[in-house]
């Protein structure tokens, strides 16, 4: 169990190398993520944001380093990965809903086959959550029948149906038409308010400022600067960050 003074996730010297070190997607990342944190990760393209996020639930196997989740080492350890992954929900840029299943089936499949929860119980919970994101009436539709924004809201609910302790978001609004970005950010905001521990890679600086309690700036596979939204956006220290903010904020 967690001791109170320890962070929920401790990342130490995390490395992910490709091609025998010629390409260092992650090059020694250190960070602590506490329970209830809403951590926003920003940085230029190719800086390793996705790789970092995907390493946290071991979709990507790190080359070196350590990740301690809730007091347990998960890199290169004998823990049951499938059991561990249930505790960490993930939302992808391209939704990745299961196209051959209805919305309701998308939401209940994993709880039923992974947690062996009953049909009635899982459907009740799924409909409850769907209602909260305003999509209860689409329960029997298929993913192709939904708009991008609706799909992403369903994808968030799908992860929530497993009752995760942490939610990872990899550019959840980047594939959306501009008019649909708001509805997805709104759901994420609600989630943050409810106290969910969240790590979000996003280019939505407004969201980062308003909802995040911490902002991490990555470049070249490393965390260059880290702090509160005010620290990062109003008082950037490093030249890289100033340069990045200049480019992003003028756009």
């Amino acid at each position: 169990m967690t001791t109170d003074n320890k962070a929920l996730i401790q990342v130490r010297n995390l490395k992910k190398h490709y091609n025998y070190g010629k390409l260092k997607a992650l090059d020694g990342v250190n960070i602590d993520i506490n329970k209830g944190d809403v951590m926003v990760v920003i940085g230029p393209s190719g800086s390793g944001k996705s790789t970092f996020l995907r390493s946290l639930n071991l979709l990507e196997e790190p080359t070196d380093g350590s990740i301690i989740f809730d007091g347990q080492e998960i890199v290169d350890s004998k823990i049951n990965l499938d059991a561990f992954r249930q505790r960490m929900g993930m939302v992808f840029q391209h939704f990745n809903l299961f196209p051959h299943k209805t919305i309701l089936e998308n939401l209940t499949l994993a709880p039923q086959i992974v947690k062996k929860a009953g049909k009635e119980e899982t459907e009740k919970r799924a409909l409850e959550l769907l209602d909260r994101v305003g999509l209860k009436d689409r329960a029997n539709a298929y993913p192709v029948q939904l708009s991008g924004g609706q799909k992403q809201r369903v994808a968030i609910v799908r992860a929530l149906c497993m009752n995760p302790e942490v939610m990872l978001f990899d550019e959840p609004t980047s594939a959306l038409d501009p008019e649909m970005v708001g509805e997805v950010l709104e759901v994420m905001k609600e989630l943050a308010k409810a106290g969910m521990t969240m790590i979000c890679v996003t280019h939505e600086m407004g969201f980062a400022r308003e909802v995040g309690n911490r902002v991490v700036f990555m470049a070249d596979g490393n965390i260059i600067e880290e702090g509160t939204p005010e620290d990062i956006f109003d008082h950037p220290k490093s030249a890289r960050l100033k340069d990045f903010l200049g480019k992003v904020l003028e756009a």
Binding site: Y20, L59, A83, N96, L109, V144, R158, A159
Partner: protein
Amino acid sequence: MTISWSNITKLLNYSNMFQQGLIVTVLLALCTVFFGFFLAFGLALMLLSDVRPLRHLEKIKTDDMERKKRLDFIARFNPVKFIASAYVQFVRCTPMLVQIFLVYYIVFGYVTLPKFTFLGFIQFERFFPAAVALALNSGGYMSAVIRGGIEGVDGGQTEAARSLGMSKGQTMFHIILPQAVKNILPAVANEFVTIIKESSVCYTIGVQDIMFNVKSVQSATFIIAEPLLMATFLYFCLCYPTSKIIEHVERRMRQSDNR
């Protein structure tokens, strides 16, 4: 050699034989595709497996890059995949006729099959080895198709499933295979058409398919050309409508994707 109308009318006396040949050919192709499919599916899973008994070698830390590359190379070795790909290469790089002879004269030279006829005229002890040989061959070819169909499913699907805590097996069964079927089924149906044609070499081991009956009619009547034309006609009538139907179904399936 001339083709004459009177010869063709003479062949009508033998229509019974052509009919039996037709039934044998279709039955042979059906058995082949059915059993070949299961073999192919097993081979495809083997080709996609991640069994690496020496994977711990990857973890050895060394600054010697050459040594590291060598270790990684050995760590990648997958005996299950190796066996499957060796089998597929054997099937692809040896002639079908040779494979049939190998199975009939060597494998079933040791195993004695019960001698009986079914459906009144099909000799089991010839039909069975032919079906086995064709299935072994067809399974090798189809494994590539099934593997491609599985790999063709968007990688994001696997990631989403695994991130929800599903195991590899659950992901394959609930997420990947239902989507891969759409890619695979048309190819399997096309394999049926291919086997109808390729099974024509089975007359060499005495399976009474269309070609076998052509030979019989030729030697009984001394008419050479017309029985061949008859066979050509039969094969075409089997294959053309079947492939048209497959095309049609395939198009319909693709349209339903965009519902």
